[in-house]
């Protein structure tokens, strides 16, 4: 099966510190993947590289059937290619309503003129309502996003990702600060989304990763340390030493 995203031999240094070191990692068109690793393993830098925020010193990032390189593209071009990103801290537009947040993310033309002339349509409104239902915010569409609880903001941001209709979703610590019930719902949303696209979850919380029940990639010092099922990687002695050993010390 051809890959949706192929990251190969990527390295990047900040002031001499190698944040990513010869990293190679691939994602299939429809899969759920968890990326774990201790602090400073390069998880966020990896997302920065894929979304165009950081340019790597070497290596290649190849996207889609056309094998396009993402390295020459701007953040907005990459987003339009179909890569959505959720930040670690919930980042929604707090001054605007849930509906406005989702409407902004909806997959519609992005150039200023089209946006200026944009008219609300029934299909778009239905799409927004469908997404709101999916993330459990169907009753909060007219609420200002700043009033939402922490967990609801996380869902709204996931909803904004879904509205973008990306082929690859990069989700940074979606369960941080959530109650057990909220975590369960988050798991369901992500699993559902992964049926039709690639969903990559960066997570610290092993219990949440277990719930996701998917292939796990362990990052350490900027490269892949181990890959496979959670049981497989957690039984790997090096993983236990560098990550689990530290986490459970």
């Amino acid at each position: 099966m051809s890959m949706l995203l192929e990251v190969s031999g990527v390295s990047v240094s900040f002031d001499g510190f190698r944040a990513i070191n010869n990293l190679s990692i691939n994602f299939a068109p429809a899969e759920l993947r968890a990326i774990i690793g201790p602090n400073g393993a390069g998880k966020t830098t990896f997302m920065d590289i894929v979304t165009g925020k950081t340019k790597p010193d070497e290596g290649s990032v190849i996207w889609g059937e056309q094998n396009a390189s993402l390295l020459g593209m701007s953040e907005s071009q990459i987003a339009m290619e179909g890569i959505g990103r959720k930040f670690q801290k919930p980042t929604v537009f707090e001054a605007q309503t849930v509906r406005q947040n989702l409407a902004m993310a909806l997959k519609t033309p992005r150039n200023p003129f089209a946006v200026l002339m944009h008219k609300k349509t029934k299909p778009n409104a239905e799409r927004i309502e469908a997404i709101a239902l999916q993330i459990g915010l169907e009753d909060s569409l007219t609420r200002v996003a700043g009033e939402l609880s922490h967990g609801q903001k996380q869902w709204l941001e996931i909803g904004m990702l879904l509205a973008q209709e990306p082929r690859l979703m990069l989700v940074d610590e979606p369960a941080a600060g959530m109650t057990p019930e909220e975590r369960e719902k988050t798991t369901d949303i992500l699993k559902e989304a992964a049926k039709t696209r690639a969903v990559v979850v960066v997570e610290h919380d092993m219990e949440f990763v277990r719930r996701l029940d998917c292939k796990v990639t362990v990052l350490h010092e900027g490269s892949v340390l181990a890959e496979g099922s959670l049981d497989h990687v957690t039984s790997n002695q090096t993983v236990i030493d560098v990550y689990l050993g530290r986490a459970h010390a």
Partner: protein, 389 residues
């Protein structure tokens, strides 16, 4: 039907237009023109100028309050608009005077002699008589009106493109825009800038071709024109900052990176807002200076752009009527205090003279508003509305 009309979604626009219309009619009826003469011609000019300041203030509010770009260059665009129209006013009026003085001569003057005489009249004060390149279109009202829009627009487009593509934001961008403003003012102060150095352009209150029309009538014409421009500008910007464009623009203000990762090309949006508001600032300036009568480089000095930001902050950022209230309130109060309208306060050991102390008071109010009323005067409306509901 999903689509509600633009005005139904923005009731404040209708309110604003109605109040502006009533205000315009009342001032016109009470002016010298109708014979009532309760409002003097000079005060009509002050009010007309204030309306122009309100227009540049809403432009500032859109670029700063909605898009988050604290530009300290918008009063420079305002001044450029004033210079552009001033060039035609001065040229056409001087041409009229020169032609009149040459009319009685037995040998008609050649076009070169006429041009020389006009040049002498305009540039004699800076020791020159040659028309600089930038005066190429000064004899043509239509082209010069085009300059009112094109010069600020092009400057904003080029400057904004350079700044935004390098991702210069926040205080660094403010400093950069202020540097642009300062450079422009310093350039204009030079005698060989082609715009009469620190003398600036004067006599702009005399409209060529309408010498027979009284200042009372002209002042009302410009007052109404300023009101129409403000109303149109208000509707235009209200349209821009509502709907999806408004969502994106406010999103850029609150979290630029998030908007970028949603797939919007943030730089294009900033450039669009920066340039559009600069053009409106230029138009406001072109209406202001014929009422002021004179423009000189001091008008463009960075402090003017800072005042503009202060007006918007005091009036309330992120709401268009806030900018109007701030500009009208502070600029009228300012002319009252500095014009000797406010009585001096004698403390016995010290006399507070408002011409000197007004700036202290303004600075103090700015600090108080920023610290305690971040929503400005406009925020009071929110409180009223909330109490009702």
């Amino acid at each position: 039907m999903m689509q509600r009309s633009f005005l139904a979604q923005n009731p404040s626009v209708l309110w604003f237009i109605s109040i502006l219309a009533v205000f315009t009619v009342i001032v016109t009826l009470l002016s010298e023109v109708t014979g009532v003469d309760m409002i003097s011609t000079s005060f009509v000019k002050t009010l007309g100028k204030t309306l122009c300041l309100c227009l540049v203030a809403i432009a500032m509010d859109v670029v700063w309050g909605y898009c988050g770009i604290l530009s300290l260059g918008h009063f420079a665009f305002f001044g450029i608009g004033g210079y552009a129209i001033g060039m035609w006013l001065m040229y056409a009026r001087t041409e009229g005077i020169v032609l009149e003085s040459l009319a009685g001569q037995p040998i008609p003057a050649t076009p070169a002699e006429i041009s020389d005489a006009i040049g002498n009249q305009i540039f004699g004060v800076v020791g020159s008589s040659d028309f600089p390149m930038i005066w190429a279109f000064a004899d043509n009202l239509f082209l010069q009106l085009l300059m009112v829009v094109l010069v600020p627009g092009t400057l904003a487009l080029v400057f904004g493109w350079l700044a935004f593509r390098s991702r210069v934001t926040g205080v660094y961008l403010s400093i950069l825009t202020q540097a642009m403003t300062l450079a422009l003012a310093l350039y204009l102060f030079q005698n060989d800038s082609g715009l009469r150095g620190n003398n600036g352009l004067s006599g702009l209150q005399n409209i060529p071709g309408y010498e027979g029309v009284s200042q009372a009538t002209l002042s009302i014409v410009f007052f109404i024109a300023s009101a129409v421009a403000l109303g149109a500008g208000y509707v235009f910007f209200a349209w821009i900052v509502s709907g999806k464009m408004g969502s994106v623009v406010k999103g850029i203000r609150d979290n630029e990176a998030r908007v970028r990762f949603l797939g919007y090309h943030v730089e294009s949006y900033k450039l669009f807002i920066f340039t559009t508001t600069a053009v409106v600032a230029g138009i406001a300036g072109a209406l202001y200076y014929p009422q002021a009568g004179i423009i000189n480089p001091g008008e463009i000095a960075p402090i003017a752009s800072i005042y503009l930001a202060v007006w918007v902050a005091i009036g309330g950022r992120g709401r268009l009527y806030g900018a109007v209230i701030g500009a009208a309130f502070v600029s009228l109060l300012s002319s009252w205090f500095t014009g000797g309208g406010a009585p001096n306060i004698n403390l016995g050991f010290y006399v507070i003279q408002w011409t000197d102390w007004w700036l202290v008071l303004l600075g103090f109010s700015f600090v108080v508003v920023t610290l305690f009323f971040p929503k400005g005067i406009g925020g009071l409306f929110d409180m009223l509305v909330r109490k009702q509901s």
